[in-house]
Subunit: 145 residues, 2 copies
DNA sequence: TGATTGTTGACTTGTTCCGTTAACTTTCTG
DNA sequence: CAGAAAGTTAACGGAACAAGTCAACAATCA
């Protein structure tokens, strides 16, 4: 019941890119250095993100990665889904018919509702929200210093 | 991001026992046969449940398992916690200090809130609730038949 | 005493997590 | 056009976890 390191790193990376001007190319090594991710692993993490249209890539000299969408259009759910696929909680939510107890299982609906809540919560948090939260945290830290 | 088979089976087993009168001993093989769980695996699943005081056991002839609490005192969260430990969503929620980014991470609070929501939802569902839901499902099925 | 039950710990098999490695392609610069 | 600087892809590998199994043991009852 935990997100993977890949999801955590992906969130960090997107948040880092969201701090640069929109569509600016950032260097992989800059992401890795600041966010504590190994280059090889970041490469792997970025591939599904590219396929999902969250980030873009530029090859060759001066190449790198950039956000393919504006931060307000990217949610935590988008990133997690790119890394881990659908959030399901229990196998019985996978496909109609997978659960032979489908029609009589009194827990089924609880899983479905809880899943809905999670999806709403995660899709409601965009990286613009996170940037704003970040600024508020830093303001509070300075005030208390 | 899924519950384990062990949790699923544990929930099934408790639900089954909750249908018998309180503290009645039920046979392992009856649980296994009706709930599609292998005896050896159920044995393993039941041990942490006993330690958590959710179910009790009786050795010897005529022995078996029984609910150590009333169904209304057992929640889905109790069973899941017995099987899987704490629900944490991200390692940064584990222990104070585990996350070096603790003070500046803008996502931290989202994890914490989402976790709270899940805990509330799961602790709010008792096995009395599930039994009632079950009866409603069966009533609806009969009406539509 | 012996059959019937639960207890415990070690074991197995398969999958997922968390990466690494190496060969390859694209792009820019001189 | 050569070569350096990037990203791409597929395969590999160790560790941990999931999902069970097994066998020796302890307790209980008839």
């Amino acid at each position: 019941m935990q997100i993977t390191r890949a999801s955590e790193y992906a969130i960090r990376a997107v948040l880092f890119m969201a701090r640069s001007p929109y569509r600016d190319v950032v260097l992989k090594k800059d992401i890795c250095r600041t966010q504590d991710i190994t280059p090889a692993f970041l490469t792997k993490i970025f591939q599904p993100m590219i396929k999902h249209g969250i980030i873009g890539s530029q090859r060759g000299v001066g190449g790198g990665f950039f956000l393919a969408k504006r931060p307000e259009e990217i949610s935590l759910l988008d990133v997690i889904r790119a890394q881990e696929g659908e959030i399901l909680l229990n196998t019985c939510l996978e496909e109609k018919g997978t659960c032979s107890r489908d029609m009589i299982c009194p827990v089924h609906n609880t899983w479905r509702e809880l899943r809905e809540t999670m999806l709403e919560s995660l899709s409601g948090k965009t990286f613009t929200d996170l940037l704003q939260t970040e600024q508020e945290i830093q303001k509070n830290l300075q005030q208390n210093a």
